[in-house]
Amino acid sequence: MSKINRVVITDYDLVTSYGLGINPLWDGLLLNKSALGRLDRFSTKQFLSSNAAVVSKLDYNKSESLVMQMLAPVIRKNISSIPDDALLILASTVGEIDLLEKDVLASRAQKSKTSPQAFLQKIEKLAKLKKPGIFVSCACASSSTAIAQGASLIRQGREDCVLIVAADSVNEFVFSGFSALMALDKDKARPFDKNRSGLSLGEAAGFVLLMSKDRAKREKRNMPVEVLGWGLSCDANHMTGPARDGNGLIRALTRALKLAKISQTDIGCISAHGTGTLYNDAMELKAFKQVFKNLPLPIYSVKGGTGHTLGSAGLLETLVALKALKEKIVPLTVGLENIDEQAIGWADISPRELKKDIVVINNCGFGGINAVLVIKR
């Protein structure tokens, strides 16, 4: 039987609408401060909402895409921590889509500019990596799936260092699409609230470096968390809506807990996908109640603060979970005022003490894609 390697996160960083790094994001969430505000990147008067959470000082008119504007400073700042033999897994939904927008608006639609390959090559070059990378796109479960795939490669000994990079931006393309699907809250997303009425969009970009525990020890790296398990599944039910009974998420959760060899009593809290749409939040609660049959577990969603950051949501939420484990605090759910009856005992308007060393992170996406991660301090 081949050796099973333990997988740790050693290095990480990100930029969100709260600023550069995990600390401004964490502080904002604990203060119940939302980064959602009026958007002025493009006209929103025709859409359901005018609010989004954006990273400051991005310039839509630059030739560099919004995701590259977010990623470049984050990667450059941390370049000395990123080994050049790391395998890159880049996660995004629509990547450099603002370049395509500009091409269409200028009547010069050139395909190559926005291909996954072009984006991947830019990140390989930016991070100064030797190996060819992989682009992963699984809707809003993209970066959690990327982390799961990277962890799996390390666990089985195929790689000993994987760089997960994730980015998605707020742009007219995505905003108009979600508006057309009637998925946006007119004001700000309120996950698990009884009056919730949709999601709000946000943007973020960042990275996590996954390493085998053996290599991390050899290189004397910090090891704030271990990636214990993961589970991937598909509802195989609907292109935009989740399976109402949560069966896909139940399968992903069950698989992740089995791989991590843990039970409900080991879990401190759950970082829910919690978009603020009626169906997503109801589906997640159904799945939690089916899998965690004993007592309610503390859950939270960051999306009332950060907005829904699409393909980068899983990475952002993994880093918030990492911080929660470090601080031993379950963050509150930003924007939550009147807790949905189904969420009573699960979601809360105040931070709580995190009593266990394990956090479960959920992400769900269009096409019924589910990804669950289990991390341990």
Binding site: Q46, E101, G133, S152, Q156, E172, G177, L181, G248, G367
Partner: protein, 188 residues
């Protein structure tokens, strides 16, 4: 040591499609809609694909190719029944064509409202999701883009995911503008 076998192959080229090592099922198809209709008549599709006419081109290619691969493998699927089969797909362009179609339409309509039925195909994973819904594929679903060796990479990845028990079997689909190849892989 566990072995992995490609138990079913399906392919679509402009004007023709087939499965296994046999020649084309027919070369008379003029477009993917008529190709689908004829394959349904031949029993290669076990039941109607809902909204097939509204699918974008990569989704039509993916669903037809997978039907052929599953037919070659002799895998039985029934409406509404989920199977522990995952699906991975790859292409050079991802969803670029769908992205252009959506945004051009939105701009031409005066930048007031996008069309939801075009927007849902602006994810590289959407063709795989359409296939998962029709065939009841409940395992992992992911789009993977590689700089080169697309086919070799997705076949290796599919085998790896069976080995690590992500799913009992996997479908691997390689898509390009007018062509597709699908493989049904199992461990033994």
């Amino acid at each position: 040591m566990r072995k992995y076998k490609i138990c079913g192959r399906g392919w679509v080229k402009k004007g023709a499609c087939g499965f296994g090592n046999k020649g084309p099922v027919s070369q008379e198809y003029t477009d993917l809609r008529s190709m689908y209709a004829q394959l349904k008549e031949k029993g290669i599709f076990k039941f109607t694909v809902e909204n097939f006419g509204r699918f974008d081109q990569p989704s039509k290619l993916a669903v037809i190719t997978i039907a052929l691969a599953l037919h070659d493998a002799g895998l039985i699927y029934t409406k509404g029944k989920l199977q522990d089969v995952g699906i991975i797909g790859t292409s050079i362009a991802g969803s670029t064509e769908a992205n252009l179609a959506y945004f051009k339409d939105y701009v031409e309509a005066g930048r007031t409202l996008g069309r939801g039925n075009l927007f849902i195909y602006t994810l590289a994973s959407s063709p795989l999701a359409e296939a998962a819904i029709h065939f009841g594929l409940a395992g992992p679903l992911l789009f993977l883009g590689y700089g080169k060796n697309q086919k070799q990479n997705i076949l290796e990845q599919a085998k790896f995911m069976i080995k690590t028990k992500e799913a009992k079997a996997m479908l691997a689909v390689e898509l390009s503008e007018n062509e597709a190849a699908g493989y049904f892989i199992q461990g033994r």
